[in-house]
Symmetry: C2
DNA sequence: ATGAAAGCGCTAACAC
DNA sequence: GTGTTAGCGCTTTCAT
């Protein structure tokens, strides 16, 4: 079966015996016509199976009624939640949201963003974009929202205070009697440093240091692979704070498999509060980083920008929330 | 800051003192020009910051070099895996993949699909689309791949045999000494019936029936909410097969919270083999439904269709794989 | 090697 | 009310 080109406005016009302008106005509902004409138009549209080509429309209007969202890894529930938040807000305003997964691969990043950017009225980007590419984004001629610290005045940003989140975690761990905290980070990530700093700063208030480990990927597999090294450290940490919940889950699962008890032998905590965190056994302590709200906020910034034709205003900063659960229960004794 | 329109091919032509046709050929690299001209073009493009508008290009070429993928709920790792598989294959062929989340909301489904379909060369759709909308999809004039049973000859399909998967699960449970199996389904889903049937058919070989329960949503919350009713049933089931892993996890977590031991008191299993399944405690028995491979296969069908200009050929059917884990360990006694 | 011109499907002024 | 026309930014014959 061959794919036939869909009928155009011109064919409808011919079939209905009117001009293309009439058809255009009719399908956009911006004007009424005489009953017979309207009827002929309806007929023609129905029998031809006409469908408007939004692509062609947006060529002339300059707007697409859709936004783009680029994420690093859709498999990470943190990003899935961002998508959810952004999608909800977009749908409410009758916009559609197109998502691309950058696959954590800088190679394809640029071309994926290019392909996306030309098809939308604005862009939300979560990425490890180096600063020079950010210049490129800013010159797209469309509003762009980034997750992170504002890199330049014409790009707005949304983030949740990771320093604060890590600090809260440190206080919680201290209260539970933990003294030897290890941070299992993902050095490539934008948020890694502030989380480590917040944790160190909190622990140092009681004179404790934080040992540092790293995963190769911010995933469950990454956490699992890193577990042995941490558990073998002398002295063994009595708490592990992971870069995110996925890493924490991988670590916790491997620790359990190796016969190390969580939380009795070692406490485990992560960041993001992904949905599965509370269903783990033990339930995973984490810091809620407002993933979904970040997505909502980013989308609202885009909508505002489109209205104002400008990208000014302050960044959006969310407060993280500590979610204490069983995986960091206080040390007994 | 105002958003200025990006420069066009015409401005480049003016700046370089050549015609727009020359610019077009140059940026598409389909022809060489005299060194001076090429140099002037490079200059003009660089100083103006020109970027090609793929939208305009695709108006004339009729192709966009991108595909669309619509999923029911990106928060479900099953769908995230489908995205991964499809994205990988698309990137390999230099296509980009645009994903939309339908939010399990039939209301927005049609308009989201319309917005998506016009921007891509082909579509992969996972949805509970009623049959009349499927006709609509088929008439888009572009290749469409569906997950499920082929509804009409001009639409190709990819699926994994759910009947078989459920049957495998039943044999595994029987071998473990389970006799009173409950199925915690999601009646709205396309796959629900075949999974139930496969399970029933397997259990009936040993003369056992399967009791039926339902979740409102195929999520962890859904599984959690349904747990109490199942555990209160008389006689209490000694195994629960959930519609998918998310539901299974929600159920398992709630059962544990209620003091019911998994797998000693009750076995739990799901479908999909989402990444977190093996990290649960106890690790979750499941049936791998080849999510990622389904995404890959669907994308390959699309690429083939574009090459052949046709949508003929057989459906793709994957074999499910039983993944036995601790959550269905054999009954002791 | 380079350019003129037609046109992809549509919208928006402006006529009538 | 309805039609004419000029593009949106680009590709693609076809001339020169």
């Amino acid at each position: 079966m061959q794919f036939k080109r869909p009928p155009t406005i011109r064919e409808v016009a011919a079939a209905a015996g009117v001009s293309i302008a009439t058809v255009s106005k009719f399908i956009n509902g911006q004007q009424r016509f005489s009953p017979e004409v309207e009827e002929r138009l309806r007929q023609a549209i129905a029998t031809l199976g006409y469908r408007l080509n939004p692509q062609a429309r947006s060529m002339v209007t300059g707007r697409t009624r859709s936004f783009g969202l680029a994420v690093l890894d859709i498999r990470n529930p943190h990003f899935a939640n961002i998508v959810k938040g952004a999608n909800r807000v977009a749908l409410e305003s009758d916009y559609s949201l197109l998502v691309v997964d950058l696959e954590e691969r800088p190679t394809h990043e640029r071309s994926l963003l290019e392909a996306l950017s030309s098809r939308v009225d604005g862009l939300i980007v979560s990425s490890r974009i180096p600063d020079d590419s950010i210049a490129w984004l800013a010159e797209l001629g469309k509003p762009v929202v980034l997750f992170g610290q504002r890199p330049r005045p014409d790009i707005r940003c949304v983030r949740t205070d990771g320093y604060r989140g890590a600090y809260l975690l440190s206080q919680h761990l201290l209260k539970g009697g933990r003294k030897r905290v290890a941070y299992l980070g993902f050095p490539n990530a934008r948020w890694n440093a502030e989380r480590l700093t917040g944790l160190r700063s909190g622990m140092s208030e009681q004179g404790h240091t934080v040992s540092e480990f790293a995963v190769e990927w911010p995933t469950m597999d990454g956490g699992q692979q890193a577990a042995a090294a941490i558990l073998a450290a002398q002295p063994r940490p009595d708490a592990v704070v992971a870069y995110n919940d996925l890493v924490a889950i991988g670590f916790m699962s491997e620790a359990t498999r190796l016969g190390v008890k969580v939380p009795d032998d070692i406490a485990v905590a992560g960041f993001d509060d992904i949905p599965v965190a509370r269903h783990m056994h033990p339930a995973l302590t984490t810091v809620n980083m407002r993933s979904e709200e970040q997505g909502e906020a980013a989308m609202r910034l885009l909508l505002d920008a489109l209205r104002d034709k400008s990208m000014t205003g302050d960044d959006i900063l969310f407060e993280p929330q500590l979610i204490p659960r069983a995986s960091t229960a206080p040390l007994k004794s």
